[in-house]
């Protein structure tokens, strides 16, 4: 018996036309873990999910569920259940029939089917719609029915393909929380595909970031947010300020980078020797850590990275203001700051400012 509910070993998918959809995907998922797959559309996250479900053939590599090889097993014989983006409720069956279908196919006794269907209907609180058909259901109700239909078969792994994509923002929020609680209570492993980074970060125990068929990073949400490992992740996740430069040197776990603003420091995301001295890198600073100060005040404090620019606009939005700062040689940066702080410092458009952050908060990634 393996400790892992799911293992992907160099999973690869090439479509018949020769398009590479997923490349060398390695992942080990512990029992009861909630994994989010996130990335732009076409990055291969849904294809990977469909390979796990058995709806897409695997070109090479292996798929193990609880230590058993399922690489070539057909979809109907896999211990997984899938929740589809459009829910795919069977329109000619009632809600209860939809839920019972998977159990009936497994040849369960009618009494057991009824007991289990009743139980899951109770859990998801959909008793009032048990005899309704798909055409009568709202988006949120369809979502619950499709969850019930998947969970009633007691799968080892629940696969969710953008299940919240079709819901409005408020409902999304509440179902996100419900899903998370449900998953914790049931202890079932969830693989959750989404294109929304906030969703991936708030739901996942670990997050897999994908881009053009490749896995960019697999990390816990906080680490992903604060320590991106590639320029793609730095741009896709969070609100990072990204400054390009050349690697100066590595020492004591710090990297120094030569940039247009002078030397900046940060924690490297790569191993020593991976990037040669003088190689292209980016300094990534999460905007939450960026302070804005009138020019000159930031000087002479050690352990900070500082860059200088000119304020171009200040947009107040209630308590906070968005300050746009023009920087020489790169795109302007928008900083969020408290209104009283900006007004207290007497900053106005045209003022010279320094932007600074603690060097230990910054990450240096290979370009």
């Amino acid at each position: 018996m393996s400790d892992h509910d799911l293992e992907l070993v160099k999973l690869k998918k090439v479509y018949p036309g020769g398009t590479l959809a997923v490349e060398a995907f390695d992942l080990k998922v512990k029992k009861g873990e909630f994994i989010s797959f996130v990335g732009p559309s076409g990055c291969g996250k849904t294809t990977t999910l469909r390979m796990i479900a058995g709806l897409e053939s695997i070109t090479s590599g292996n798929l193990l569920i609880r230590g058993k090889d399922f690489t070539t097993v057909r979809a109907e014989d896999r211990p997984t259940a899938t929740i589809f983006q459009n829910y795919a409720i069977f329109p000619h069956m009632t809600v209860a029939e939809n839920i019972a279908f998977g159990l009936q196919v497994r040849g369960k006794e009618p009494a057991e089917v009824k007991r289990r269907v009743d139980a899951i209907i109770e859990t998801l609180q959909i008793g009032d719609i048990r005899d309704a058909r798909e055409s009568a259901l709202s988006g949120g109700q369809k979502q619950r029915v499709s969850l019930a239909r998947g969970l009633v078969t007691e799968p080892d792994i629940l696969l969710l393909d953008e299940p919240l994509g079709a819901l409005d923002a408020n409902l999304r929020k509440s179902i996100q929380e419900e899903l998370k609680i449900l998953q914790r209570d049931l202890g079932i492993t969830f693989i959750f595909v989404t294109h929304a980074q906030s969703e991936a970060l708030s739901m996942g125990d670990r997050v897999v970031v994908m881009n053009s068929g490749r896995v960019e990073q697999i990390s816990e949400p906080f680490e992903l947010y604060t320590r991106p490992k590639s320029p793609f992740v730095a741009r896709f996740i969070g609100r990072n300020k990204i400054i390009e430069g050349k690697l100066g040197g590595l020492s004591d776990g710090r990297a120094t980078v030569e940039t247009a603003f002078g030397p900046l420091a940060g924690i490297p995301s790569f191993d020593a020797g991976h990037v040669a001295s003088g190689g292209a890198v980016f300094v990534v600073a999460p905007s939450e850590y960026v302070e804005i100060l009138p020019a000159g005040q930031a000087a002479a404090e050690p352990g900070y990275d500082t860059i200088s620019g000119t304020v171009s606009t200040i947009e107040p939005v209630g308590q906070v203001v968005y300050v746009t700062v023009e920087l020489p040689g790169m795109a302007p940066i928008r900083i969020e700051a408290y209104r009283d702080k900006i007004e207290g410092a007497g900053l106005a458009p045209g003022a010279s400012v320094d932007l600074r952050w603690k060097a230990e908060r910054a990450t240096v990634v290979a370009a």
Binding site: E76, F90, H92, D131
Partner: protein
């Protein structure tokens, strides 16, 4: 405004003509079918209103110089043939359309090959089939050579109907079934088929009606035991009596009955979903 009125007039006239030509022949036939018999002929004026020719169709009149329509067996043959054609064409059409849901090599070629069956002129196909049958030494029969041509002719219609249905079919419902552990065969029976059933009904209706009144392909291939359209044609090759009109009226009523059954089945399958929706709204 001016041009709007003009357009309205033209459209009105067009609709009037359309209805006239659609129903005119049938109405004239319907009126003439009530001509007095056996002396009354297929022309106005009506000598006297009577149901003589209806009785004549069913052989309830005393023998006269007008021979009874030879339709008893022909009608049975036509219905049997139409039914068999409907079953075979609908099954084939549905399965072929199902096959076309995946792109396979040569699918374009196969598509045109199938559709050719309804494009080739019927007379040519009938004549060609007759020649081939004679060469090979197959007897020409309504249940053999004619049946094959009926399938060749109606199968493309059923196929195109089902292709359109599958085009709008949401594949993820089938995938959901597989993911729930339902094998493909059972998925087709329990999920796909119930969802495409209205389309299957339409395909059946097409196949049945097209086969039922098929003439040119049948003329050369049915052999000596003819189907109804050929039998009817045979009678008015000599002389036309209003008994044919009476029969025409009966056939049309039969077709309407068939359409009504189709309509009722359609409404039922649509309403089932709707009722659930309404109940939900009330609750």
């Amino acid at each position: 405004m001016q041009s709007n009125n003009l357009l309205r007039t033209i459209l009105g006239a067009y609709t009037g003509l359309f209805i006239l030509f659609l129903y005119g022949p049938f109405i004239v036939m319907g009126i003439l079918s009530f001509q007095a018999g056996p002396e009354g002929g297929p022309q106005f004026p009506i000598i006297e209103w009577s149901t003589y020719w209806y009785q004549h169709v069913f052989g309830l009149t005393p023998p006269s110089r007008v021979a009874p329509l030879p339709i008893g067996e022909a009608l049975l043959r036509s219905l049997t043939l139409a039914f068999a054609t409907m079953v075979v064409s609908t099954v084939l059409g549905t399965l072929t359309a199902q096959g076309f849901r995946r792109n396979f090599r040569g699918s374009g070629f196969v598509f045109y090959l199938v559709v050719l069956g309804m494009m080739v002129p019927g007379v040519l196909l009938g004549l060609g089939m007759a020649l081939v049958a004679d060469q090979v030494g197959i007897d020409r029969t309504w249940w053999g050579t004619a049946f094959v041509l009926h399938v060749v002719y109606t199968f493309p219609f059923a196929f195109l109907v089902m292709l359109a249905i599958f085009n709008r079919f949401d594949k993820s419902v089938e995938e959901a079934a597989w993911a729930l552990g339902v094998p493909p065969g059972r998925t087709f029976r329990k999920v796909t088929f119930p969802m495409i059933f209205p389309g299957v009904l339409s395909a059946m209706l097409f196949a049945f009606t097209l086969s039922y009144d098929e003439f040119p392909r049948t003329l050369f291939t049915a052999g000596s035991d003819v189907t109804m359209p050929i039998a009817i044609y045979g009678t008015f090759a000599v002389e036309i009596h209003p008994n044919i009109f009476a029969f025409g009226v009966l056939t049309t009523l039969f077709s309407f009955a068939l359409l009504s059954v189709y309509g009722v089945l359609m409404t039922l399958s649509v309403r089932r979903a709707k009722t659930a929706a309404v109940q939900e709204e009330i609750a």
